[in-house]
Symmetry: C2
Subunit: 322 residues, 2 copies
C-alpha cells in the first residue's frame, strides 16, 4: 500500500475524528470554542486519535463511540500545545499565528486547562477506570517531561540518555496511552494491550526523533516554522547531541558558537555540520530502529486491514518531510 | 464549641493532611517537589481536604486512606493557584513571593499541570469511577470560571448574576466536589451525597463572598496581600457591584473613577464608600444567607462530632478576618 492509498483508506476515519472534535467541544463559554477551534482545526495530522481508533479496531472493537473517545487524545495534545506555546513564547505554529499571539497568554493557559479537563470528562464516558489510570499516569509523565525539557534548556552537555528521557515522557507516553486505551475499551486480552502500548511507545520515539531531525533538515514552508527553531529556543535535540560527539574539534567549537545565537542565515551551515559528521545519519538510524521495534509489536495480531494501516503509518511517519 | 476548641479538635486531621501532602508529592524531578512545596506548604487553611475528610467521616467512613485521598483537592487547588498567579502576574500570595516570581512563568505553568495530573492519579486510587466523573466535571467548570473571570475583567457593568456564575464555578464547585466525593468514597446513599454536594456548594459561595468582602475591609498584613487587590487586578466583585447600584450619583461616579487606577492610598476611601451605601452589609447578608443554606443541608445527618465540626467551620469561615 503506498502513501496515497493509505491516506485514502484512512480518510473516512479522519473525517469522523474531525467531526467529533467539533461536536465534543461543547462549553458554556463561546470564547473557549473559538480558541479551542483555532488550535484544533488549524491543521494537525490527528495521529493520536487515529492510533486510538485503529488500536481499538485491531482488537476487534466495533463501537460507534470510537471517534468520540478518540478526541480525548487530541484535546489532551492540544492542551499541551497551548501551554508549550506560552512556555516557549512561540509566535508561529503550523504556519499560523499561535493562540497566545492572538488572545494572550492568560486566556491560552486557561483554555489549555479547559481542554485537559474536557479530555478527562470524555475519558470518564468510556466507563472504565483503567482508562483513567493510564491517562492520569500519562498526563503526569508528560508534565514531568515538559519540565525536564525546560530545565535542560540550552544545556549543551545534555546526554543522549537525558534526551530520550524527555522525549519518552513528552511525546511517546501519550501515543502509547492512545494505543493502550484502544485495547482497553475493546476489552482486549493483556498481551494485546501490552503489545499496543509498546507499539505506541516506539512509534512515539520515532515520531519525535523525526521531528527533531526535520527541525534541521526540513523546509520552512513545509514545516510551518523556521528551520533550527528548536536550537534557537534552547531545545537541544539528538542530532545536535550526536554532532557534538562526532564532529572534529573545529566543528564542535563552531557548533557551540552557533548554538549561542541561532540566526536564520546559519541554518544551512548547521545542517551541513550535522550532515558531514554523520550525526543526522545516526539519528535517522535510531528512528529506523524504533520503527522496526514498533512494527515487531504488531506481529501478535492476525492479518487485517488495520494491521496494514498501522504498518503503513509507521513507514509514513518515518519518511515524512513535514 | 468556640473557635479555639474547634481548631484543637481538627488539629490531628490537619496534621495528617499536611503529612499526606508531603508524602504524595512524589516525582521523578526534584525541582517539581521544590515548587510544589512552595505553594503547598506556605500556609493555606486546608479547607478543601478537611471538607473531604469530614464528609467521609460524617457518612461513617473509617478508611485509613482519607488523608491521602484528601490531597486530591489541595493539589487541584494549588494547580489553579499557580496558573492564576501567572494569569494575574501576581507577585505576593499569603505574604510570600509567588512561585512565578521565584521560578518564572514557564516552570510554574508546567508544575501546575503536574499537580493537576497528580490529583487525577490519586483520584484513580479511590477505585471509583464516579469520583473521576465528579472531579472531571468540577475541573471543567473551574476552567470555565477562570476564563469567564478573565473575560469579565474591568467590566464595571458586571451583573450580580454574572458574578455568581464566576464564583460558583471558580470556587464553589471544587468545595462541593470535595464534600460529594467524601460521600462517594464512603458508599453513602444518594440523599447524603446530594446533601453534602449542596452543603459544599453553599459553603463555597460563602467562602468566596467573604474573601471578596475582606479584599476591601481586611488588614493588609493579615491578608498577606494589598487591600482592594481584586479591584486593582480588574476583578469586579459583589461588594463593588452592589455599591455601583446603591451609592448616590456622586458616589457612583467616584467609584468608577477610582476603579480606573486603584492606588494604595485610595483603599480607605473605597472601603468607606462601600460601607456608607450599604453594599458591604448587603454582601455580608448574602454570605450569612449561604451559610444558613449550607447548615440546612446538615440536618439530614444524625448528631455526631463531625456534624458539630462542620457547623463550627461554617461559622468560622463566615466570621473570619483573613
Amino acid at each position: 500500500m503506498n502513501q496515497a492509498q493509505l491516506l485514502a483508506a484512512l480518510a473516512p476515519e479522519i473525517e469522523a475524528i474531525n467531526r467529533a472534535l467539533e461536536a465534543n467541544l461543547t462549553t458554556h463559554v463561546p470564547f473557549i470554542s473559538q480558541v479551542g477551534r483555532h488550535i484544533l482545526l488549524s491543521g494537525g495530522k490527528r495521529v493520536r486519535p487515529l492510533l486510538f481508533v485503529l488500536s481499538a479496531r485491531l482488537c476487534g472493537c466495533r463501537s460507534n463511540h470510537l471517534a468520540d473517545f478518540s478526541t480525548i487524545f487530541e484535546y489532551l495534545h492540544a492542551a499541551t500545545l497551548l501551554h508549550d506555546d506560552v512556555v516557549d513564547a512561540a509566535t508561529v505554529r503550523r504556519g499560523t499565528s499561535t493562540a497566545n499571539t492572538i488572545w494572550g497568554n492568560q486566556a491560552v493557559i486557561l483554555v489549555g486547562d479547559f481542554l485537559l479537563a474536557k479530555a478527562l470528562s470524555l475519558a470518564v464516558t468510556t466507563d472504565r477506570l483503567k482508562v483513567l489510570q493510564v491517562l492520569a499516569h500519562a498526563t503526569t509523565m508528560m508534565a514531568e517531561g515538559e519540565i525536564l525539557q525546560l530545565l535542560h534548556a540550552r544545556n549543551l552537555d545534555l546526554t543522549e540518555e537525558e534526551y530520550f528521557e524527555v522525549i519518552h515522557r513528552k511525546t511517546a507516553v501519550l501515543m502509547s496511552a492512545a494505543c493502550q486505551i484502544g485495547a482497553i475499551v475493546s476489552g482486549a486480552p493483556p498481551e494485546q494491550e501490552e503489545a499496543l502500548a509498546r507499539f505506541g511507545l516506539n512509534l512515539g520515539l520515532t515520531f519525535q526523533l523525526v521531528d527533531d531531525i526535520l527541525d534541521f533538515t526540513g523546509d520552512e514552508r513545509q514545516l510551518g516554522k523556521p528551520v533550527a527553531n528548536d536550537l534557537k529556543e534552547g531545545r537541544i535535540t539528538l542530532p545536535f547531541i550526536a554532532a557534538l560527539k562526532r564532529a572534529d574539534e573545529a566543528g564542535r567549537r563552531r557548533l557551540r558558537e552557533l548554538a549561542r545565537e541561532v540566526r536564520p542565515e546559519h541554518a544551512g551551515e548547521i545542517r551541513d555540520l550535522l550532515e558531514s559528521c554523520g550525526a543526522l545519519e545516526y539519528a535517522r538510524g535510531l528512528a529506523r530502529k524504533y520503527t522496526r521495534a514498533a512494527q515487531d509489536h504488531l506481529r501478535l495480531f492476525p492479518e487485517c486491514p488495520e494491521k496494514g494501516y498501522f504498518w503503513g503509518i509507521t513507514e509514513m511517519l518515518l519518511a515524512r518531510t513535514s
